[in-house]
Protein backbone atom coordinates (compact mmCIF):
# COMPACT_ATOMS: atom_id res chain seq x y z
CA UNK A 1 0.00 0.00 0.00
CA UNK A 2 1.43 3.37 -0.99
CA UNK A 3 -0.03 6.87 -0.82
CA UNK A 4 -0.12 6.75 -4.62
CA UNK A 5 -2.71 3.95 -4.54
CA UNK A 6 -5.78 5.01 -6.44
CA UNK A 7 -8.67 5.45 -4.02
CA UNK A 8 -11.80 3.45 -4.69
CA UNK A 9 -15.23 5.02 -4.99
CA UNK A 10 -17.32 3.00 -2.55
CA UNK A 11 -20.48 4.88 -3.44
CA UNK A 12 -20.09 3.93 -7.08
CA UNK A 13 -19.18 0.30 -6.30
CA UNK A 14 -22.21 0.09 -4.03
CA UNK A 15 -24.41 0.33 -7.10
CA UNK A 16 -23.06 -3.10 -8.13
CA UNK A 17 -24.69 -4.62 -5.03
CA UNK A 18 -28.48 -4.87 -5.40
CA UNK A 19 -28.87 -5.75 -1.72
CA UNK A 20 -28.41 -2.09 -0.81
CA UNK A 21 -31.50 -1.08 -2.78
CA UNK A 22 -33.80 -2.14 0.05
CA UNK A 23 -34.60 -0.50 3.36
CA UNK A 24 -35.24 -2.00 6.79
CA UNK A 25 -37.93 -0.36 8.91
CA UNK A 26 -37.64 2.60 6.57
CA UNK A 27 -33.92 2.90 7.16
CA UNK A 28 -31.13 2.28 4.66
CA UNK A 29 -29.20 -0.94 5.05
CA UNK A 30 -25.93 -0.48 6.92
CA UNK A 31 -24.27 -3.83 6.30
CA UNK A 32 -21.34 -3.95 8.71
CA UNK A 33 -20.95 -7.71 8.79
CA UNK A 34 -18.72 -8.38 5.81
CA UNK A 35 -16.15 -10.27 7.88
CA UNK A 36 -18.95 -12.75 8.48
CA UNK A 37 -19.85 -12.93 4.82
CA UNK A 38 -19.65 -10.41 2.01
CA UNK A 39 -22.40 -9.24 -0.30
CA UNK A 40 -22.28 -10.18 -3.97
CA UNK A 41 -21.95 -7.84 -6.95
CA UNK A 42 -24.17 -8.17 -10.01
CA UNK A 43 -21.08 -8.99 -12.07
CA UNK A 44 -20.64 -12.26 -10.16
CA UNK A 45 -24.33 -13.14 -9.94
CA UNK A 46 -24.99 -12.39 -13.62
CA UNK A 47 -21.95 -14.35 -14.75
CA UNK A 48 -23.06 -17.38 -12.71
CA UNK A 49 -26.57 -17.19 -14.16
CA UNK A 50 -25.15 -16.95 -17.66
CA UNK A 51 -22.85 -19.90 -16.95
CA UNK A 52 -25.82 -22.00 -15.82
CA UNK A 53 -27.86 -20.91 -18.84
CA UNK A 54 -25.22 -21.44 -21.50
CA UNK A 55 -22.37 -23.64 -20.29
CA UNK A 56 -23.51 -26.01 -17.58
CA UNK A 57 -22.82 -29.75 -17.60
CA UNK A 58 -20.70 -31.97 -15.42
CA UNK A 59 -16.98 -31.43 -15.64
CA UNK A 60 -14.07 -33.66 -16.53
CA UNK A 61 -16.22 -36.43 -17.95
CA UNK A 62 -18.63 -35.09 -20.55
CA UNK A 63 -17.16 -35.39 -24.07
CA UNK A 64 -19.72 -33.13 -25.72
CA UNK A 65 -19.16 -29.42 -26.22
CA UNK A 66 -21.26 -28.31 -23.25
CA UNK A 67 -19.14 -30.47 -20.97
CA UNK A 68 -16.00 -28.95 -22.42
CA UNK A 69 -17.33 -25.46 -21.79
CA UNK A 70 -18.19 -26.30 -18.19
CA UNK A 71 -14.75 -27.84 -17.64
CA UNK A 72 -13.12 -24.78 -19.15
CA UNK A 73 -15.17 -22.60 -16.76
CA UNK A 74 -14.04 -24.57 -13.73
CA UNK A 75 -10.41 -24.85 -14.75
CA UNK A 76 -10.31 -21.22 -15.81
CA UNK A 77 -11.44 -20.31 -12.30
CA UNK A 78 -8.64 -22.45 -10.88
CA UNK A 79 -6.11 -20.53 -13.00
CA UNK A 80 -7.55 -17.24 -11.75
CA UNK A 81 -7.36 -18.30 -8.10
CA UNK A 82 -3.80 -19.52 -8.64
CA UNK A 83 -2.77 -16.14 -10.09
CA UNK A 84 -4.68 -14.33 -7.33
CA UNK A 85 -2.61 -16.15 -4.69
CA UNK A 86 0.57 -16.16 -6.82
CA UNK A 87 0.64 -19.96 -6.61
CA UNK A 88 3.42 -21.56 -8.68
CA UNK A 89 0.91 -23.89 -10.33
CA UNK A 90 -2.87 -24.14 -10.70
CA UNK A 91 -2.50 -27.87 -9.89
CA UNK A 92 -1.80 -26.81 -6.32
CA UNK A 93 -5.25 -25.20 -6.00
CA UNK A 94 -7.82 -27.60 -4.54
CA UNK A 95 -11.44 -26.46 -4.65
CA UNK A 96 -13.25 -27.09 -1.38
CA UNK A 97 -16.43 -25.86 0.28
CA UNK A 98 -14.77 -23.12 2.34
CA UNK A 99 -11.66 -22.38 4.39
CA UNK A 100 -12.95 -24.64 7.16
CA UNK A 101 -13.00 -27.62 4.82
CA UNK A 102 -9.55 -26.68 3.49
CA UNK A 103 -8.11 -26.63 7.01
CA UNK A 104 -9.84 -29.89 7.91
CA UNK A 105 -8.46 -31.47 4.76
CA UNK A 106 -4.93 -30.62 5.91
CA UNK A 107 -5.58 -31.69 9.51
CA UNK A 108 -7.07 -35.04 8.52
CA UNK A 109 -4.87 -35.86 5.56
CA UNK A 110 -1.50 -34.36 6.46
CA UNK A 111 -2.00 -34.16 10.22
CA UNK A 112 -3.15 -37.68 11.00
CA UNK A 113 -0.42 -39.23 8.87
CA UNK A 114 2.48 -36.98 9.91
CA UNK A 115 1.96 -36.15 13.58
CA UNK A 116 2.94 -38.31 16.53
CA UNK A 117 4.19 -38.40 20.11
CA UNK A 118 6.93 -35.86 20.77
CA UNK A 119 5.64 -33.52 18.06
CA UNK A 120 4.35 -30.02 18.74
CA UNK A 121 1.20 -28.69 17.10
CA UNK A 122 1.23 -24.91 17.59
CA UNK A 123 -1.78 -22.64 17.13
CA UNK A 124 -2.31 -19.04 18.24
CA UNK A 125 -4.72 -17.52 20.72
CA UNK A 126 -6.06 -15.49 17.81
CA UNK A 127 -7.25 -18.43 15.68
CA UNK A 128 -10.77 -18.95 14.49
CA UNK A 129 -12.11 -22.31 15.69
CA UNK A 130 -11.63 -23.60 12.12
CA UNK A 131 -7.84 -23.38 12.46
CA UNK A 132 -7.86 -24.39 16.12
CA UNK A 133 -10.26 -27.28 16.70
CA UNK A 134 -9.03 -29.47 13.78
CA UNK A 135 -5.48 -29.19 15.17
CA UNK A 136 -6.57 -29.82 18.74
CA UNK A 137 -8.33 -32.93 17.40
CA UNK A 138 -5.40 -34.08 15.24
CA UNK A 139 -3.01 -33.66 18.18
CA UNK A 140 -5.27 -35.71 20.46
CA UNK A 141 -5.66 -38.42 17.84
CA UNK A 142 -1.93 -38.76 17.22
CA UNK A 143 -0.49 -38.14 20.68
CA UNK A 144 1.19 -34.91 19.61
CA UNK A 145 1.34 -31.97 22.05
CA UNK A 146 -1.03 -29.07 21.42
CA UNK A 147 0.36 -25.60 22.20
CA UNK A 148 -1.10 -22.11 21.93
CA UNK A 149 0.93 -18.95 21.28
CA UNK A 150 -0.39 -16.11 23.44
CA UNK A 151 -1.36 -12.56 22.51
CA UNK A 152 0.08 -9.42 24.00
CA UNK A 153 -2.09 -6.66 25.46
CA UNK A 154 -2.37 -5.01 22.05
CA UNK A 155 -4.01 -8.08 20.56
CA UNK A 156 -0.90 -9.01 18.61
CA UNK A 157 1.02 -12.28 18.67
CA UNK A 158 3.62 -12.59 21.40
CA UNK A 159 6.49 -14.54 19.88
CA UNK A 160 8.89 -14.13 22.79
CA UNK A 161 8.44 -17.72 23.96
CA UNK A 162 9.33 -19.48 20.68
CA UNK A 163 12.84 -20.56 21.66
CA UNK A 164 11.59 -22.10 24.86
CA UNK A 165 8.74 -23.78 23.02
CA UNK A 166 11.10 -25.37 20.52
CA UNK A 167 12.88 -27.14 23.38
CA UNK A 168 9.67 -28.93 24.35
CA UNK A 169 9.44 -31.12 21.26
CA UNK A 170 9.61 -31.29 17.46
CA UNK A 171 7.96 -28.25 15.93
CA UNK A 172 5.88 -30.08 13.36
CA UNK A 173 2.95 -27.82 12.58
CA UNK A 174 2.14 -24.14 13.04
CA UNK A 175 -1.39 -22.89 12.34
CA UNK A 176 -1.82 -19.13 12.07
CA UNK A 177 -4.15 -16.64 10.43
CA UNK A 178 -3.08 -13.63 8.39
CA UNK A 179 -5.88 -11.41 9.64
CA UNK A 180 -7.86 -12.07 12.81
CA UNK A 181 -11.59 -12.34 12.17
CA UNK A 182 -12.27 -11.15 15.68
CA UNK A 183 -9.88 -8.26 16.37
CA UNK A 184 -8.87 -7.43 12.82
CA UNK A 185 -5.19 -7.78 13.75
CA UNK A 186 -2.96 -8.02 10.69
CA UNK A 187 -0.43 -10.62 11.72
CA UNK A 188 3.16 -10.29 10.60
CA UNK A 189 3.67 -14.02 10.29
CA UNK A 190 7.15 -13.88 8.71
CA UNK A 191 9.10 -14.48 11.97
CA UNK A 192 6.79 -17.35 12.87
CA UNK A 193 7.15 -18.94 9.44
CA UNK A 194 10.97 -18.66 9.63
CA UNK A 195 10.95 -20.23 13.10
CA UNK A 196 8.70 -23.09 12.00
CA UNK A 197 10.82 -23.83 8.94
CA UNK A 198 14.10 -23.64 10.87
CA UNK A 199 12.73 -26.46 13.01
CA UNK A 200 11.45 -28.45 10.05
CA UNK A 201 7.80 -27.61 10.66
CA UNK A 202 4.96 -26.96 8.25
CA UNK A 203 2.90 -23.75 8.32
CA UNK A 204 -0.85 -23.75 7.67
CA UNK A 205 -2.17 -20.26 7.03
CA UNK A 206 -5.83 -19.29 7.35
CA UNK A 207 -6.26 -16.44 4.87
CA UNK A 208 -10.08 -16.44 4.90
CA UNK A 209 -10.15 -12.97 6.43
CA UNK A 210 -7.08 -11.64 4.57
CA UNK A 211 -7.73 -12.63 0.96
CA UNK A 212 -10.81 -10.36 0.52
CA UNK A 213 -8.90 -7.32 1.74
CA UNK A 214 -5.22 -7.49 0.88
CA UNK A 215 -2.86 -9.06 -1.61
CA UNK A 216 -2.05 -12.62 -0.53
CA UNK A 217 1.08 -14.10 -2.10
CA UNK A 218 1.78 -17.68 -1.05
CA UNK A 219 5.36 -17.51 -2.31
CA UNK A 220 6.20 -14.28 -0.51
CA UNK A 221 4.54 -15.57 2.66
CA UNK A 222 6.55 -18.79 2.28
CA UNK A 223 3.80 -20.82 4.00
CA UNK A 224 3.07 -24.45 3.14
CA UNK A 225 -0.72 -24.49 3.05
CA UNK A 226 -3.18 -21.60 2.75
CA UNK A 227 -6.98 -21.54 2.90
CA UNK A 228 -9.54 -19.07 1.55
CA UNK A 229 -13.35 -18.84 1.48
CA UNK A 230 -15.15 -17.52 -1.59
CA UNK A 231 -18.15 -16.14 0.26
CA UNK A 232 -16.06 -13.60 2.15
CA UNK A 233 -14.60 -12.15 -1.06
CA UNK A 234 -17.66 -11.30 -3.16
CA UNK A 235 -17.98 -14.89 -4.39
CA UNK A 236 -20.76 -17.40 -3.77
CA UNK A 237 -21.01 -19.55 -0.65
CA UNK A 238 -20.10 -23.22 -0.93
CA UNK A 239 -16.74 -22.66 -2.60
CA UNK A 240 -13.29 -22.06 -1.20
CA UNK A 241 -9.76 -23.06 -2.04
CA UNK A 242 -6.81 -24.77 -0.47
CA UNK A 243 -3.37 -24.03 -1.79
CA UNK A 244 -0.61 -26.43 -0.81
CA UNK A 245 2.96 -27.06 -1.91
CA UNK A 246 2.76 -29.75 -4.55
CA UNK A 247 5.38 -31.97 -2.87
CA UNK A 248 3.28 -32.00 0.30
CA UNK A 249 0.00 -32.55 -1.55
CA UNK A 250 1.57 -35.40 -3.55
CA UNK A 251 2.70 -37.18 -0.39
CA UNK A 252 -0.66 -36.85 1.37
CA UNK A 253 -3.42 -39.46 1.32
CA UNK A 254 -6.80 -38.33 -0.04
CA UNK A 255 -9.28 -36.78 2.37
CA UNK A 256 -12.60 -37.71 0.73
CA UNK A 257 -12.89 -40.66 -1.61
CA UNK A 258 -15.19 -41.39 -4.51
CA UNK A 259 -15.56 -40.43 -8.14
CA UNK A 260 -13.08 -38.34 -10.12
CA UNK A 261 -10.30 -38.66 -7.56
CA UNK A 262 -9.13 -42.10 -8.72
CA UNK A 263 -6.69 -43.32 -11.32
CA UNK A 264 -7.76 -46.95 -11.37
CA UNK A 265 -10.06 -49.02 -9.17
CA UNK A 266 -10.12 -52.80 -8.86
CA UNK A 267 -11.53 -55.11 -6.22
CA UNK A 268 -8.03 -55.43 -4.75
CA UNK A 269 -6.95 -51.80 -4.71
CA UNK A 270 -7.36 -48.22 -5.89
CA UNK A 271 -4.72 -45.86 -7.17
CA UNK A 272 -5.44 -42.19 -6.79
CA UNK A 273 -5.51 -39.49 -9.41
CA UNK A 274 -3.14 -36.61 -9.96
CA UNK A 275 -3.36 -33.21 -8.31
CA UNK A 276 -5.76 -31.61 -7.73
CA UNK A 277 -8.24 -34.39 -8.66
CA UNK A 278 -6.95 -36.53 -5.78
CA UNK A 279 -8.59 -34.09 -3.37
CA UNK A 280 -11.74 -33.32 -5.34
CA UNK A 281 -13.93 -36.41 -5.01
CA UNK A 282 -17.42 -36.17 -6.44
CA UNK A 283 -19.03 -33.48 -8.56
CA UNK A 284 -17.48 -30.12 -7.72
CA UNK A 285 -19.43 -26.98 -6.92
CA UNK A 286 -18.97 -26.09 -10.59
CA UNK A 287 -20.87 -22.84 -10.97
CA UNK A 288 -19.68 -21.71 -7.55
CA UNK A 289 -16.06 -22.25 -8.56
CA UNK A 290 -16.76 -20.32 -11.75
CA UNK A 291 -18.34 -17.59 -9.61
CA UNK A 292 -15.25 -17.47 -7.39
CA UNK A 293 -13.17 -16.85 -10.51
CA UNK A 294 -15.51 -13.97 -11.41
CA UNK A 295 -15.19 -12.59 -7.88
CA UNK A 296 -11.40 -12.63 -8.28
CA UNK A 297 -11.82 -10.65 -11.52
CA UNK A 298 -14.07 -8.18 -9.71
CA UNK A 299 -11.65 -7.66 -6.81
CA UNK A 300 -8.70 -7.25 -9.16
CA UNK A 301 -10.70 -4.77 -11.20
CA UNK A 302 -11.24 -2.67 -8.08
CA UNK A 303 -7.67 -3.25 -6.93
CA UNK A 304 -6.61 -5.00 -3.72
CA UNK A 305 -4.38 -2.07 -2.76
CA UNK A 306 -7.31 0.31 -3.07
CA UNK A 307 -9.56 -2.02 -1.04
CA UNK A 308 -6.96 -2.26 1.72
CA UNK A 309 -6.54 1.50 1.85
CA UNK A 310 -10.30 2.07 1.91
CA UNK A 311 -10.70 -0.32 4.83
CA UNK A 312 -7.87 1.28 6.80
CA UNK A 313 -9.58 4.64 6.38
CA UNK A 314 -12.91 3.23 7.52
CA UNK A 315 -11.33 1.48 10.52
CA UNK A 316 -9.65 4.73 11.55
CA UNK A 317 -12.94 6.60 11.13
CA UNK A 318 -14.85 3.98 13.14
CA UNK A 319 -12.31 4.04 15.98
CA UNK A 320 -12.54 7.83 16.06
CA UNK A 321 -16.35 7.84 16.14
CA UNK A 322 -16.59 5.01 18.70
CA UNK A 323 -14.20 6.87 21.01
CA UNK A 324 -16.92 9.52 21.35
CA UNK A 325 -19.57 7.05 22.56
CA UNK A 326 -19.48 6.82 26.36
CA UNK A 327 -19.00 3.33 27.77
CA UNK A 328 -17.65 1.79 24.57
CA UNK A 329 -14.55 -0.34 24.87
CA UNK A 330 -12.73 -1.24 21.66
CA UNK A 331 -10.49 -4.33 21.47
CA UNK A 332 -7.47 -4.90 19.28
CA UNK A 333 -4.61 -2.98 17.73
CA UNK A 334 -4.49 0.63 16.44
CA UNK A 335 -6.03 1.41 13.05
CA UNK A 336 -2.77 1.17 11.10
CA UNK A 337 -2.27 -2.43 12.15
CA UNK A 338 -5.80 -3.69 11.69
CA UNK A 339 -8.00 -4.62 8.75
CA UNK A 340 -11.56 -3.28 8.44
CA UNK A 341 -12.76 -5.02 11.60
CA UNK A 342 -13.65 -3.36 14.91
CA UNK A 343 -14.68 -5.40 17.95
CA UNK A 344 -16.14 -3.57 20.91
CA UNK A 345 -18.43 -3.75 23.91
CA UNK A 346 -20.93 -1.28 25.30
CA UNK A 347 -20.88 -1.05 29.08
CA UNK A 348 -24.03 -2.51 30.61
CA UNK A 349 -25.47 -3.81 27.34
CA UNK A 350 -24.84 -7.38 26.22
CA UNK A 351 -23.71 -7.70 22.57
CA UNK A 352 -26.87 -9.62 21.64
CA UNK A 353 -28.98 -6.75 22.91
CA UNK A 354 -26.78 -4.24 21.09
CA UNK A 355 -27.12 -6.21 17.87
CA UNK A 356 -30.87 -6.55 18.30
CA UNK A 357 -31.33 -2.80 18.78
CA UNK A 358 -29.00 -2.02 15.89
CA UNK A 359 -30.95 -4.47 13.71
CA UNK A 360 -34.02 -2.34 14.29
CA UNK A 361 -32.03 0.59 12.93
CA UNK A 362 -31.05 -1.21 9.73
CA UNK A 363 -27.52 -1.85 11.04
CA UNK A 364 -26.15 -5.40 10.69
CA UNK A 365 -23.28 -6.34 12.97
CA UNK A 366 -22.11 -9.62 14.43
CA UNK A 367 -22.54 -10.25 18.14
CA UNK A 368 -21.04 -13.28 19.80
CA UNK A 369 -17.74 -15.03 20.30
CA UNK A 370 -16.88 -15.01 16.57
CA UNK A 371 -15.82 -18.65 16.76
CA UNK A 372 -12.90 -17.49 18.93
CA UNK A 373 -13.71 -18.72 22.43
CA UNK A 374 -10.06 -18.94 23.54
CA UNK A 375 -9.63 -15.29 22.53
CA UNK A 376 -12.84 -14.25 24.33
CA UNK A 377 -11.50 -15.97 27.46
CA UNK A 378 -8.29 -13.95 27.11
CA UNK A 379 -10.27 -10.72 26.81
CA UNK A 380 -12.34 -11.78 29.81
CA UNK A 381 -15.65 -11.42 27.97
CA UNK A 382 -18.26 -13.89 26.79
CA UNK A 383 -18.88 -12.04 23.57
CA UNK A 384 -18.22 -8.83 21.69
CA UNK A 385 -19.89 -6.73 19.02
CA UNK A 386 -18.06 -6.68 15.72
CA UNK A 387 -18.49 -4.18 12.92
CA UNK A 388 -16.64 -5.02 9.71
CA UNK A 389 -16.19 -3.17 6.47
CA UNK A 390 -15.63 -3.87 2.82
CA UNK A 391 -15.14 -2.17 -0.50
CA UNK A 392 -18.82 -1.10 -0.61
CA UNK A 393 -18.89 0.34 2.92
CA UNK A 394 -19.47 4.09 3.24
CA UNK A 395 -18.96 6.37 6.24
CA UNK A 396 -22.69 6.98 6.61
CA UNK A 397 -23.05 3.33 7.65
CA UNK A 398 -20.61 3.90 10.50
CA UNK A 399 -22.56 7.03 11.47
CA UNK A 400 -25.74 4.90 11.49
CA UNK A 401 -23.94 2.42 13.77
CA UNK A 402 -22.92 5.16 16.19
CA UNK A 403 -26.47 6.57 16.29
CA UNK A 404 -27.73 3.06 17.06
CA UNK A 405 -25.24 2.67 19.90
CA UNK A 406 -26.49 5.88 21.48
CA UNK A 407 -30.00 4.47 21.26
CA UNK A 408 -28.92 1.17 22.85
CA UNK A 409 -27.34 3.08 25.70
CA UNK A 410 -30.47 5.13 26.26
CA UNK A 411 -32.73 2.03 26.33
CA UNK A 412 -30.48 0.40 28.91
CA UNK A 413 -29.71 3.59 30.85
Amino acid sequence: MTPATKALDARKLRADFAIFEQTFAGKPLAYLDSANTSQKPRQVLDAMTEFYETSYANVHRAVYELGERATAGLEGAREKVARFLNAPSAREIVFVRNATEALNLVAYSWGLSNLGAGDLVVVTELEHHSNFVPWQFAAKQTGASFRMLPLDDQGELDLSGLDELAREGNVKLVAVNLVSNSLGTINDIAPLVRWAHEHGGVVVCDAAQAAPHTRVDVQALDVDFLAISGHKMCGPSGIGALWGRSELLHAMPPFLMGGHMIHAVTYEKTTFGELPAKFEAGTSPIAEAYGLGCAVDYLEGVGLDAIERHEHELAAYALERLADVPGVQVYGPPADRRAGIVSFNVEGVHPHDVAQILGGEGVCIRAGHHCCQPLMAKLGVAATNRASFYLYTVREEIDQLVDGLHKARSIFA
Binding site: H350, P351, H352, I357, H369, M376, A382, I411, F412
Partner: protein, 143 residues
Protein backbone atom coordinates in the same frame (compact mmCIF):
# COMPACT_ATOMS: atom_id res chain seq x y z
CA UNK B 1 -42.02 -4.11 16.56
CA UNK B 2 -39.81 -1.39 17.89
CA UNK B 3 -36.93 -2.00 20.23
CA UNK B 4 -38.56 0.15 22.84
CA UNK B 5 -41.39 -2.38 23.15
CA UNK B 6 -39.04 -5.35 22.78
CA UNK B 7 -37.02 -4.14 25.72
CA UNK B 8 -40.18 -3.37 27.63
CA UNK B 9 -40.03 -2.13 31.18
CA UNK B 10 -40.47 -5.51 32.86
CA UNK B 11 -37.59 -7.09 30.91
CA UNK B 12 -35.21 -4.25 31.73
CA UNK B 13 -36.35 -4.29 35.35
CA UNK B 14 -35.64 -8.01 35.77
CA UNK B 15 -32.33 -7.58 33.91
CA UNK B 16 -31.16 -4.73 36.09
CA UNK B 17 -32.60 -6.06 39.36
CA UNK B 18 -32.62 -9.83 38.97
CA UNK B 19 -34.77 -11.72 41.48
CA UNK B 20 -33.27 -14.79 43.05
CA UNK B 21 -29.75 -13.83 42.06
CA UNK B 22 -27.08 -15.69 43.94
CA UNK B 23 -25.80 -19.12 44.85
CA UNK B 24 -27.17 -21.78 47.21
CA UNK B 25 -24.24 -23.47 48.90
CA UNK B 26 -26.14 -26.63 49.85
CA UNK B 27 -28.47 -26.89 46.88
CA UNK B 28 -30.55 -30.05 46.46
CA UNK B 29 -30.45 -29.61 42.70
CA UNK B 30 -28.13 -27.64 40.48
CA UNK B 31 -27.03 -27.37 36.88
CA UNK B 32 -25.09 -25.10 34.60
CA UNK B 33 -26.32 -24.05 31.17
CA UNK B 34 -24.62 -22.29 28.31
CA UNK B 35 -25.84 -20.85 25.06
CA UNK B 36 -22.79 -21.16 22.81
CA UNK B 37 -24.35 -18.84 20.23
CA UNK B 38 -24.04 -15.73 22.34
CA UNK B 39 -22.10 -16.86 25.36
CA UNK B 40 -25.00 -16.67 27.81
CA UNK B 41 -24.29 -18.62 31.00
CA UNK B 42 -26.71 -19.56 33.75
CA UNK B 43 -26.18 -21.67 36.86
CA UNK B 44 -29.31 -22.68 38.76
CA UNK B 45 -29.56 -23.81 42.38
CA UNK B 46 -32.68 -25.27 43.94
CA UNK B 47 -33.51 -26.09 47.57
CA UNK B 48 -36.45 -28.44 48.20
CA UNK B 49 -38.81 -28.25 51.15
CA UNK B 50 -39.01 -30.97 53.80
CA UNK B 51 -41.19 -33.08 51.51
CA UNK B 52 -38.25 -33.26 49.09
CA UNK B 53 -40.59 -32.16 46.33
CA UNK B 54 -41.69 -28.56 46.80
CA UNK B 55 -39.36 -25.95 45.35
CA UNK B 56 -38.53 -23.92 48.41
CA UNK B 57 -35.90 -21.64 47.00
CA UNK B 58 -34.33 -21.02 43.59
CA UNK B 59 -31.23 -18.96 42.93
CA UNK B 60 -29.33 -18.31 39.75
CA UNK B 61 -25.99 -16.86 38.78
CA UNK B 62 -24.79 -16.05 35.33
CA UNK B 63 -24.10 -13.49 32.70
CA UNK B 64 -25.58 -12.85 29.33
CA UNK B 65 -28.02 -10.82 27.31
CA UNK B 66 -31.02 -9.06 28.80
CA UNK B 67 -33.43 -11.71 27.51
CA UNK B 68 -31.58 -14.68 29.04
CA UNK B 69 -31.02 -13.03 32.40
CA UNK B 70 -34.46 -11.42 32.70
CA UNK B 71 -36.21 -14.64 31.67
CA UNK B 72 -34.31 -16.61 34.30
CA UNK B 73 -35.15 -13.99 36.91
CA UNK B 74 -38.86 -14.25 36.01
CA UNK B 75 -38.58 -18.03 36.13
CA UNK B 76 -37.36 -18.03 39.72
CA UNK B 77 -40.52 -16.18 40.76
CA UNK B 78 -42.72 -18.41 38.63
CA UNK B 79 -41.60 -21.76 40.07
CA UNK B 80 -41.33 -20.80 43.72
CA UNK B 81 -43.48 -23.11 45.84
CA UNK B 82 -44.37 -25.44 42.96
CA UNK B 83 -43.66 -29.14 42.75
CA UNK B 84 -40.33 -30.19 41.26
CA UNK B 85 -41.93 -32.96 39.21
CA UNK B 86 -44.33 -30.51 37.63
CA UNK B 87 -41.67 -27.86 36.92
CA UNK B 88 -39.37 -30.48 35.38
CA UNK B 89 -42.01 -30.83 32.66
CA UNK B 90 -43.04 -27.16 32.53
CA UNK B 91 -44.31 -26.00 29.16
CA UNK B 92 -42.02 -23.26 27.91
CA UNK B 93 -45.04 -21.30 26.70
CA UNK B 94 -45.90 -20.51 30.30
CA UNK B 95 -42.60 -18.66 30.62
CA UNK B 96 -42.80 -17.12 27.15
CA UNK B 97 -46.24 -15.73 28.00
CA UNK B 98 -44.75 -14.07 31.04
CA UNK B 99 -41.92 -12.59 28.98
CA UNK B 100 -44.59 -11.30 26.64
CA UNK B 101 -42.60 -10.35 23.56
CA UNK B 102 -42.33 -12.14 20.21
CA UNK B 103 -38.96 -13.83 19.94
CA UNK B 104 -37.05 -14.89 16.85
CA UNK B 105 -35.71 -18.46 16.91
CA UNK B 106 -32.26 -17.20 17.93
CA UNK B 107 -33.56 -15.09 20.81
CA UNK B 108 -35.86 -17.95 21.87
CA UNK B 109 -32.73 -19.89 22.83
CA UNK B 110 -31.73 -17.02 25.11
CA UNK B 111 -35.20 -16.92 26.66
CA UNK B 112 -35.41 -20.62 27.53
CA UNK B 113 -31.81 -21.10 28.70
CA UNK B 114 -32.74 -20.71 32.36
CA UNK B 115 -35.76 -22.99 32.06
CA UNK B 116 -33.78 -25.67 30.25
CA UNK B 117 -31.05 -25.50 32.88
CA UNK B 118 -33.59 -25.71 35.70
CA UNK B 119 -35.18 -28.78 34.09
CA UNK B 120 -31.78 -30.46 33.80
CA UNK B 121 -31.10 -29.69 37.49
CA UNK B 122 -34.46 -31.12 38.59
CA UNK B 123 -34.21 -34.26 36.47
CA UNK B 124 -30.68 -34.88 37.75
CA UNK B 125 -31.81 -34.47 41.36
CA UNK B 126 -34.82 -36.73 40.86
CA UNK B 127 -32.85 -39.28 38.86
CA UNK B 128 -35.39 -39.08 36.06
CA UNK B 129 -34.24 -39.31 32.43
CA UNK B 130 -33.69 -36.05 30.59
CA UNK B 131 -36.41 -35.32 28.08
CA UNK B 132 -35.62 -35.63 24.40
CA UNK B 133 -33.73 -32.61 23.17
CA UNK B 134 -31.96 -32.11 26.46
CA UNK B 135 -29.92 -35.28 26.28
CA UNK B 136 -26.62 -35.08 24.46
CA UNK B 137 -25.86 -31.63 25.78
CA UNK B 138 -22.50 -32.85 27.02
CA UNK B 139 -19.58 -30.99 25.57
CA UNK B 140 -17.36 -32.68 23.07
CA UNK B 141 -14.76 -34.14 25.36
CA UNK B 142 -11.41 -34.59 23.70
CA UNK B 143 -9.42 -35.26 26.84
Amino acid sequence: MTDESFYREIILDHYKNPRGHGVLADADAEAEGKNPLCGDEVSIYVAFGEDGETIDEVKFAGRGCAISQAATSMLTEMVQGRSATEVAELDKDELLEEIGIPLTPIRLKCAVLGLTTLKVALHKAKGTPLPEGLAGLDELDLT
